[in-house]
Subunit: 212 residues, 4 copies
């Protein structure tokens, strides 16, 4: 279960998010609880994970969890929210630094893959796999964050279409990409034969979006 180490840049970004109160300090009790929960939810599913499992993982007793979260579902919501916020911050800063559409596309793909594969938090995959475990209210809350995130993708894909990089409608292409990227969590492994960098290249290639 070796997680790729976040780079210095990423740590700095994370520290900033923490200081803004958007993300919980991963060293705090609450932060360790979130990390452990995300890990377990990914392995066994939300419904398949008990609060006792989580408590055991973090070294406390199950009752103590409810000092940090009002109920189990709120843990999932927090994991999801932080996963989006972390990823979003990185995507926005990446897009801001780049100019060409293919480069931006590539950066977005990279950020999303990094999020999916657990660089700075493993919670991103849960957004799709455990979506239905959220109550309607929580879904609405998270959806707002997701929309900011999806908006960024759409903008870049719209540019791509306008500039002739693809013929597929942005909203369709985004759906295809989302599915293809999410699925990587089922077969791609960091530290495997294929590097993350290579994977990003192949995805850009398959999408017809290759930097000249």
């Amino acid at each position: 279960m070796s997680q790729a180490q976040p780079s210095q840049t990423q740590q700095a970004e994370l520290a900033q998010l923490v200081s803004q109160g958007l993300v919980t300090d991963p060293a705090s009790p609450k932060g360790r609880l979130l990390a452990a929960s995300a890990q377990l939810f990914k392995q066994k599913g939300f419904a398949g994970t008990t609060v006792r499992d989580i408590a055991a993982e973090v070294g406390i007793l199950s009752g103590s969890i409810f000092h940090h979260f009002p109920n189990k579902e709120s843990i999932l919501k927090a994991v999801m929210a932080e996963a989006i916020l972390t990823c979003l911050a990185r995507m926005e800063s990446a897009v801001a630094k780049l100019e060409t559409t293919p480069a931006r596309f590539r950066a977005l793909v990279r950020c999303e893959l990094e999020a999916i594969h657990g660089i700075s938090g493993v919670g991103f995959t849960l957004l799709t796999s455990e979506w239905r475990c959220l109550s309607a209210d929580s879904q609405a809350e998270i959806l707002k964050l997701r929309q900011r995130y999806e908006g960024l993708h759409r903008e870049v894909l719209a540019d791509a279409k306008a500039q002739g990089w693809t013929q597929v409608e942005p909203f369709l292409l985004r759906h295809f990409m989302r599915g293809a990227l999410a699925e990587t969590s089922n077969w791609f492994h960091l530290n495997g034969d294929l590097s993350l960098e290579d994977l990003v290249d192949q995805i850009c290639l398959a999408a017809g979006m290759r930097p000249s």
Copy 2:
């Protein structure tokens, strides 16, 4: 929840599978149980569906379920197995009838989308979404069926690469496609603005595999 009506051809194919004992007659008690279970598992997840829910849906009492299946998990396994077998039969017959690689590719995409969107059974999406709810033994059993199914895809994609339709490695391309197709269950709706036929076209377009 209006399901698209299976065409006459599809009904004939299904009847054949039933007569071969590969698939349960959907009119039989067991068949209705499977259909109801698949529906509920898709809506609320395997863990989120109780056997009482299933029994209520099919109009029997919860205890009666266990005349047909030894336990809840075996229902999921049966749903998955039948979903694969049904789809596989249709894919094999489609590929056998067609000659060119793009036409075959298109046929496979169409079959898989039909399976995902519940034409002749709703169970196909569960293969990914509820995979981890299967015990290790059941996973191994289903995996054997899945491999026959994935093999067919790989063959066609290998032809596509050899014939210059794509530059992406077949196994990668298949992963991307699987993800993109599976994700359609979250946003595409039969009877919506976009027809299934159009969706197939757009996917072929995005994959660079367009029949001349």
Copy 3:
């Protein structure tokens, strides 16, 4: 599970009981059901044996059992009643043939051990081990049979005391003997190193009741 074969005499006695309607013909469907039930009740206990177990053993389906018996408990009652009646008949005929008290005592011990160890029916042990599984009404019914049976023992033991074979009160001695004999079902095996005849001798020896 080789059962000792009943001797010719025993078979004749059994046939007589059958013809009197006191015992079910072991070759009849009902008789095979009783034999199978007794076997299973002994192995797994009454509560631990399901009617499906019994049906499977006898090669029918569970529902069919209720053509022969109104409910599960009535099977146990029948097994017990027949076990007592069979044993009682043999004891009475043995006592009638013998004159001296030690010989009679020995015959009773022998009959009881034969009953316990499944010569002509395995049901005898159930009388103690599964007694509490009987409803109050059934217990009362069986108790009447048991009393005839216990009466025979007490008579002989009373003679033994009167004739100076033992100093222990008949009712106490009978309790001790019953326990010791019942316990043999947990350790003594026909066809083992110790023969049944030897076992009878040792018990008479331990009870101080040795024929000169």
Copy 4:
């Protein structure tokens, strides 16, 4: 259901076992659970006792039982283990204090009868009556304890034979005694006409082991 009060000596011995961690403090929640379970198992049998029965007896809800024991069977196992350990401790201390074989024999009989009749715990009878309700693994565990216990008996009986108190083989005599003693639970009652002390005398008399 009036239980004989344990004497001061017995209470001291029990306290020692508790402090050694071999036996659960009968005043603790777990201890009360064990006592109630033993009582009910004896009355209605293991299979005939529900966890709700036990919970009701001790004044908690059924779910709460599973904080103390992982499942119902483990309660039975614990009851049995503690019954053996308690009895064993008393037997060992009694044998250590006495010198002659008949005196030792008498002490063992007394200890076993006290255990059977619920002085300091009612669980002893369950060892035989509910033995088969234990899983194979649990049986093996308990068997180890039982062997220490039976070993003590065999030693004393071997001395008895060597010293001419009896002609019966120790292993046979022990089987007879075990059965006779166990059976007392079906007919002998503390506070009845016959005192426990008298019962012990009669048993020694019947076994030919009477102190001069």
